[in-house]
């Protein structure tokens, strides 16, 4: 697995350009998230690709061929903080609710919605932690789940000098790609 932090100008079509590249070059995306950054006009993608180091270099070089891509950092070998956020709707009646709540406690997750027959649990953590909570909850009946996919940040300040969004046109007009998105 190779993980990249990819800074892109938040222009229309940019997500389409990046995902089209992965499709065309037959690079396997494990997860892709995109969201705004601290800089207006710049978005940041966290992309996890199923490939080796050589493949990682190819991915990086190809990303730089996408015009709105401003910077690519391969953070695979860096000390990072990786998080995944999930909301899990689980069946919980009066009888099973205490057990579920206990598990939530153990996992330091949170209950964010309660109805007579269901609970919605919110959890953040590494993908492993989320996976494991999900496994534990399955016997109770998982009705619905949504996950953000992995977001990841290098520790310390090693991602290079400050970036400014390009003032160039960079792209076809269309709906803005903004907010979070997973593949």
């Amino acid at each position: 697995m190779q993980t990249f932090a990819v800074y892109v100008d938040n222009v229309p079509g940019v997500l389409n350009r990046v995902s089209s590249l992965f499709r065309r070059r037959a690079f396997n995306i494990e997860s892709l998230t995109v969201g705004h950054t601290e800089v207006d006009g710049l978005s940041r993608m966290t992309i996890v690709v199923d490939t080796d180091e050589r493949g990682g270099r190819l991915v990086e070089a190809n990303l730089y061929k996408v015009l709105p891509v401003r910077r690519v950092v391969n953070i695979t070998q860096m000390p990072t903080i990786a998080r995944d956020l999930a909301m899990i709707k689980v069946q919980a009646n009066a009888e099973s609710r205490p057990q579920v709540m206990q598990l939530v406690e153990v996992y330091r997750a949170r209950i964010v919605d309660v109805s007579p027959e269901t609970l919605v649990i919110e959890t953040t953590g590494t993908e492993d932690k989320v996976d494991s909570l999900l496994e534990i909850l399955k016997p109770y009946g998982v009705l619905e789940m949504v996950r953000t996919g992995r977001i990841e940040m290098a520790r310390g300040s090693i991602e290079g000098p400050a970036l400014v969004p390009g003032r160039a046109m960079h792209g076809a007009r269309g709906p803005h790609d903004s907010g979070a998105m997973s593949v």
Partner: protein, 568 residues
Amino acid sequence: MSTRTLTGAQILWESLVREGVEVVFGYPGGAILPAYDAMLDYPIRHILVRHEQGATHMADGYARATGKVGVAIATSGPGATNMVTGIATAQMDSSPIVCITGQVGSGLIGSDAFQETDITGITLPITKHNYLVTHASEVAAAVREAFAVARHGRPGPVLIDITKDAQLGTCDFDWEAATPDIEAIDRSGQGFGADAIELINKAQRPLILAGHGIILGGGTAAVQRLSEQAQIPVAMTLLGIGSVPASHPLNLGMMGMHGEAWVNTAIQEADLLIALGMRFDDRVTGNTRTYAPHAKKIHVDIDPAEFNKNIRVDAAISGDVGEVVTGWLPHLASVDRSPWLDHINRMRGDVAVRDIKNMPDQGHLYAAHVIHDIWRITGGNAIVVTDVGQHQMWEAQYYHHEAPRSLITSGGLGTMGFALPAAIGAKVGRPDAEVWVVVGDGGFQMTLCELATMVQEELDVKVCIINNGYLGMVRQWQEFFYQRRYAATPITAPDFEKLAAAYGVWGATVEARSEVESTVEAARRNTRGAVIDFRVEQEDSVFPMVPAGNDLHNMIRRPSPIVETAAD
């Protein structure tokens, strides 16, 4: 700086003129009408094509012949989709073209309006970049950036889709404010490569692999100096032909599937490959696992995405080939490489005896004879534009190109139908050059409608049809690998001489070797173009041949001594 209020259509032409555009190849229609109307007021030559695919190939041929950006223009919907093949062709061969398409009004986008097509979506994977412009105020910046993107780094096609309301709307035209951010566009690195120099100085059996990048970047002189100074022979890819003169003693010729046998053998024996502006396409490597097994590899390319894509290399240097190589020159040690050069020359002499053009005239006409004669008669100075198939490989083998930009051919995509329109574009760009088309009877029938464009524009292009009555290259594969089961490869054709006459072009038919020279001379005397139908051996094959995926040294060779194949 003063600004003027103009329509988007006017701004388009203002911008094109400022980008140095003198000619565009196009075809009008509803969604691009405002732009066409405004065009009449600007000093730009418009060449009306007969099919929009032709417009893109013409822009491509123009770009390849001149080094300038070629421009094609078309309407929305079918006009735009007809451009797709030409755009993909330009993308695969890194040819800088800008395609401009009309689009339905921005308010109609997404409604399946008449002649609406998502052309930016369709061309996204086959352009370097593309734009959908929906306001007049965006036109200038889009055009400027498109030209910068097409030209900088590794060149390629860019498409600008302009909605009808963006063409009709008005705004202040401010050229300065539309200056592109070159730093954000040009992503080529500047490499030097000390380890590369060490590898070169240590090598006993080095080879330069010369690709298209040398020609695109203007690095031909630097590469020739590298070759001479270090006494390193040069092998060329199909698109690298012309990077070093064919007559240069260190130039070995073409490599790959139909490359010269001694070149492929030399690659397999080399201890160092210096790959310059080439990308180890499967047509030049054959089986990658057995490719150049004894060689260290140095790869210089402006596009780092090519490094270790197909072949693992020992040193990868990103940058303009000419600049990188020039940086090496002062550091080259003098090494005696005469044993290696002598060895290659012995292999060369050995296979020359199998050369079909040396065969005595037995009454049959071979494509090799035709191309050899055209080479001889034109002194190797013509621009030759080929189509795709057997004739393309024979051209590469038998026409010896002395100058860069003198062979124009669709290498990466292998687009049949490319030759005639690309030759028209080349002739428009270099009116003083003698331009020849070498095309098969199959491919010519794909885009021969552009003969009318040639006539309307009074362009002098000579067409040499290698007419074998088959889709020859496919027939050859069927002969070698499908037990001669000729599925859908016998092809009929009109009488090309009469067809030429119908278009108002001088034409001739040649069946004997003895008539080739006089007919080529007659064609050259005609200044309004010419079409010659050469009825050649029907079942001749291109040799040598490395079957797809085979080891590069496992070549099918022309039977020796040469036996006539025809029963006619």
